[in-house]
């Protein structure tokens, strides 16, 4: 306890006058980062569920792992999601220079590539369902579909957000609120790449081992 000491016989200040500079942008990105950690735990829970249900007992006579996953096809998805994230990241490099045109161009490319990813995923799902491998076939397939669809839903949500931000950039320019949102979106979009790394390796690649 640094109790009763008054330094040099002089009373230290009791009140803090002057305007407190709050860094609004950093407060928002930190808050969003915390949300993403929470979201990451959500995926941890899903991966834990997948790891448990990825057992011969849980196939319930339905198709097994190796029949469901197609690593080569998933590689195209990997390419799509990584390049979409790369495009958005480059858009924020343009933002750094204050170039609104570069920002919008990067976002547009990211949206297209993100849509390609979702299209590929839906096509994959459709072909699985076509062969009778539906989520209600077995515990394993339930986990497979729900894990991958959760990532897909995040991607879809990110696309919606990106569209909204496109409009906001055009309407409000690079205001503090817009820039904070753009930074949060960057965290969110890059996070989807990280999740996909885990999905690709621990679902698609591991499935063929």
């Amino acid at each position: 306890m640094d109790g009763n000491i008054i330094r040099d016989g002089k009373m230290p200040p009791l009140w803090h006058y002057g305007h407190e500079e709050h860094d609004v942008i950093s407060a928002k990105t930190f808050g969003f980062w915390l949300y993403m950690l929470s979201d990451a735990l959500l995926f941890a829970g899903l991966f834990a569920a997948y790891a448990v249900l990825d057992h011969a007992m849980n196939m319930a006579g339905g198709p097994v792992e190796a029949q469901v996953v197609h690593p080569i096809a998933a590689t195209w998805q990997t390419l799509a999601v990584l390049s979409s994230v790369f495009a958005y990241s480059l858009a924020t490099v343009a933002l750094k220079r204050g170039s609104r045109a570069g920002l919008i161009a990067g976002m547009a490319v990211a949206i297209v590539l993100g849509a390609v990813f979702i299209g590929l995923e839906l096509a994959d799902f459709a072909s699985l369902v076509h062969t009778g491998a539906t989520p209600d076939t077995s515990g394993f397939l339930s986990a497979f579909f729900v894990l991958i669809a959760s990532h897909g839903l995040h991607m879809a949500f990110g696309l919606l957000w990106m569209l909204v931000m496109l409009v906001q950039v055009l309407r409000f320019g690079l205001s503090t609120a817009v820039v904070a949102q753009l930074l949060n979106l960057r965290l969110f979009w890059q996070f989807q790449a990280s999740v996909w790394v885990c999905v690709y390796v621990f679902v698609y690649l591991k499935g063929t081992i």
Binding site: V24, V93, L95, L174, L183, V201
Partner: protein
């Protein structure tokens, strides 16, 4: 309310965007995943070692993304992001690791030998449950 007077574009988190960093991150992630793909397609290692190898590659990719994409470091505007991530990573390991461990042990103890379905066995119609 702050930043009345400062341009948001000059904020350090905007300025941390780096063309080189993102390019390296992108190429690295892609190459690491392709390497993992190649290893699996070639069945270059025995299964358990292969799993270890591709997990290691994934971890390297995630690690690279933390620095090159998220730009985590101990600069003032990023320190709390880094700290909170470091505090959270053990929880991922505990959640997944302990779950896998306990269910693995459970399976060893409770699944009757011989009743396990062989992976990839064609024409399997039996629905195994604990009761059988």
């Amino acid at each position: 309310m702050a930043a009345h007077h400062s341009d948001p574009v000059l904020h350090p988190e905007v300025q941390q965007a780096s063309f080189t960093g993102y390019t390296v991150g992108f190429v690295m992630s892609l190459l690491l995943l392709l390497a993992a793909l190649l290893l699996t397609e070639q069945h270059a290692l025995p299964p358990l070692k292969l799993l270890g190898a591709i997990s290691a590659l994934a971890m390297v990719a995630l690690f690279a993304q933390c620095f090159l994409f998220f730009g985590l470091n101990i600069a003032l505007h990023n320190i709390w992001k880094s700290v909170s991530l470091v505090l959270t990573v053990p929880l991922f390991i505990l959640t997944i690791g302990l779950t896998v461990w306990m269910f693995h042990q459970l399976a060893d103890l409770t699944m009757l030998p011989g009743m396990q379905v062989m992976p990839g066995m064609p024409g399997m119609t039996m629905q195994p449950t604990l009761l059988q």
